[in-house]
Symmetry: C2
Subunit: 242 residues, 2 copies
């Protein structure tokens, strides 16, 4: 099975949560929009499914994954699917739901991190919503980062099995996503995150453990993992870091 991933070129964005799972799971996949247009890639290949008049299950937005003829959209839903074949989730129903619940909480944090620089409209430039961004970012640093980090630290503490993971003894897609959001917040808010992570050693350890996994490390060092940048979900605007 060769998976086809469809996501915007040039940014990690929400596609990266899927890529980390594919990489850790050792999956074969093609990142379609990164292929040249004249070889069936690029944004046009993606738009075929977003805008095509006969796609039976059209996604609302990227990322989406093509598995044979099946299209699967929504980041958390793609991960819910991949958890099985890539062995990145428990096999029992209750365990699957618990991992998915944690994933959806990570997804909520991603939206809030994004909205610090775009509190008014995703369709407007940052410079046109800078005053609101400063206020939203302050609340994010003071209240939301602590609330989410406390929560994940608590979940890590309550997992009584050995090892750095959220659920049981094995890494799950929720661990990968949580490490990615921590990495993103460290990029965007270096000062606020350093302070917050000092109080949350288990969360910091999870982050490190993910990026030290051999397959994730190989991926990060391959040059295929894009660097964070200021067109992305997580943006480094020093004025938003207090």
């Amino acid at each position: 099975m060769v998976y086809e991933l469809y996501y915007w070129p040039g940014i990690q964005g929400r596609g990266e949560f899927v890529r980390l799972a594919l990489e850790e799971g050792g999956a074969k996949y093609i990142d379609i929009a990164l292929k040249p247009e004249n070889r069936g890639g690029g944004v046009p290949a993606m738009n075929k499914f977003l805008e095509g008049p006969r796609v039976p299950h059209p996604p609302f937005a990227p990322p989406f994954l093509k598995v044979g003829k099946q299209l699967i959209g929504q980041t958390s839903n793609i991960l819910l699917y991949l958890g099985g074949p890539l062995k990145l989730a428990p096999r029992d129903e209750a365990g699957k739901l618990w991992v998915h619940q944690l994933q959806l909480t990570v997804a909520d944090l991603v939206v809030e991190a994004h909205d610090t620089h775009h509190p008014i409209a995703a369709g407007l430039y940052y410079k046109d919503q800078k005053a609101a961004a400063k206020r939203r970012a302050e609340d994010f640093r003071e209240h939301r980062i602590p609330k989410f980090f406390n929560y994940f630290e608590k979940v890590l503490t309550r997992n009584r099995t050995a090892g750095p993971w959220l659920v049981g003894r094995r890494v799950t897609y929720a661990d990968l996503s949580l490490a990615q959001v921590v990495a993103g917040i460290r990029y965007a808010f270096p000062k606020a995150s350093t302070k917050a992570l000092r109080k949350h050693p288990r969360l910091m350890k999870l982050h490190d453990a993910v990026f030290e996994r051999p397959r994730i490390k190989r991926y990060a060092e391959s040059g295929r993992r894009l660097a964070f940048n200021n067109d992305d979900l997580f943006r480094n605007y020093p004025e938003l870091d207090g």
Copy 2:
């Protein structure tokens, strides 16, 4: 099986998406926080699970559902679970994922509708973020409502089976949630939504079909379904309706 639902009293909020599924599925459930405190209800009963030091799988926030000893949090995850026993989702894996994908897209719309009145911080009063709210609401009316409504209308059109539903011939939890968000947006933005729904007749029909389901109707007429109000997710501030 008697389900226990935990959610804030006084509002429909995210709990309502779960309630509609429980009602349509004919489930027995107790809305714990609506019971008096001296009979084991109220917010303290909820906080036991949010703050208790020995809860193995603590939820981040309400709503959460207790099924025997299992706690399930995150609205979309609760619905993913309930889809099986309440027969509100297809039985095949691909169908389940497609319904969940639509649910997660509804959930995105819910966040955006909420953030029209709270674009800066959930912890601040509306009056302290009114200027930003006006700008965000304008974008929501002009760009986001049309984008989401177009999308759902498209999905409804692509479902080639007879009937008003998003997926196949049977009502799913995603239909119930979509009808609820349409109802909420009609309450919050009566002018903008009237205009938008005129262009999306299938979406309007889905809304009506859900609220005409016998069990949903009985629930709405029982007095147990709270009215929309301005402490809730969807709020009617005329200045945000253009």
